[in-house]
Subunit: 107 residues, 2 copies
């Protein structure tokens, strides 16, 4: 298992709707997230920023990211929520959410 | 169990040392964190911000926060790492790390 945290901005005028939509995401999207080996997946909000935390239980995160992106219901979901987000300037090439570094962990 | 996420700033000139210290925190501090019912506790860094994620397994988070603060080795640890941190302006009264809101979760 690999712990992954990520950040992205959310447009202030979109946050209420973003939050509302995330109270009940499409079941086929939720199932696909699970199929792509995300577990214990949370998103938090602070001051226009979204922070995600997840536990990745697969063997190849890049391959599972590609699998995530190839799923048509997930694409439709991203077409809705993506325009509400504002990626950070210092993300790596190919990233939407920017993966951030773990400084500390204890069980 | 309650998932808790928090944010705080870290002074840029202090981050390297902050990170180094967190690779091996004092054992009595780690034990006390556990005794205060924190589990699966991680801190991540992005762009001068620290983002923590933890799973609180106690019954009274405020009481356990008070217990955390009453522990002398933990106080000594905070005397070292506290000055490296920069609390966010919009934290609540009494907070050092600011607790932030969960927008989404799936297992």
């Amino acid at each position: 298992m690999k712990r992954i945290a990520q950040v992205i901005g959310v447009k202030p005028e979109c946050f209420e709707e973003y939050s509302r939509l995330h109270q009940a995401i499409p079941q086929e999207v939720a199932d696909h997230i699970h199929a792509c080996n995300y577990r214990n997946y949370s998103i938090f909000h602070w001051n226009g920023m979204l922070f995600s935390y997840l536990e990745y239980v697969g063997e190849d995160f890049e391959a599972d990211q590609a699998k995530m992106a190839a799923h048509e219901p997930t694409q439709r979901w991203w077409d809705v929520v993506g325009p509400m987000q504002q990626p950070v300037a210092d993300r790596k090439d190919g990233e939407w959410w920017a993966e951030i570094d773990e400084v500390f962990h204890q069980e």
